[in-house]
Symmetry: C2
Subunit: 112 residues, 2 copies
């Protein structure tokens, strides 16, 4: 149990939320998601993202279409399904509640 491991754990929980949020803004493919998440300091790598996108698809939250690329192989562009939009809305509530709960715990009266 080291700090890095715990930091990874913390990020895990919000990964799905972040990915669904990014997809909700418009069709996008995996490499661009990776770039955006990295820019926002939400660490994620291919080996995590691709299986996660597949789980989201199997769960009916996202779907994709193949799009030819001007340079390189074709890309899978992802978009949310109606169910995905609803799920994302529920996650927004969950996230807000989690932030509130956690802050309540960690900012509670201390006996320092």
């Amino acid at each position: 149990m080291n700090l890095e491991n715990t930091q990874i754990q913390m990020r895990k929980g919000v990964l799905e939320f972040c990915i669904l949020s990014i997809i909700s803004r418009g069709e996008i493919y995996a490499s661009d998601m990776l770039e955006e998440l990295t820019r926002a300091k939400i660490m994620v790598v291919e080996g995590t993202l691709y299986p996660l996108l597949n789980r989201l698809r199997k769960a009916g939250l996202v779907e994709y279409k193949w799009v030819e690329s001007a340079l390189g192989p074709p890309r899978k562009y992802y978009m949310l399904t109606e169910q995905g939009h609803q799920f994302l809305q529920a996650l927004r509530t969950t996230w807000e509640e989690l932030v509130a709960s956690t802050n309540a715990i960690v900012n509670a009266q201390s006996q320092l």
Copy 2:
């Protein structure tokens, strides 16, 4: 992949942080931690808490002492080690950065 499962995932990441925070406020034993976490809507059960406390102890972040109870079996009262205090301070930073990063992603310009 259902909503409840994802909510659990989200909470997982901050569990260690919450537990260390609670212990930092003063010596406390497991059942009282459970009650406080439940009150704050951070779901956790015995089968999660006890192994986690053991991991924290093996990592040198917490230690405990046995205390006789007026009613019932003796209790393990936990407290942070010096290393635990430092770790908690690092997690505070991690948490703040995670909240900032996530909000940046999910509140980014949408094309709704």
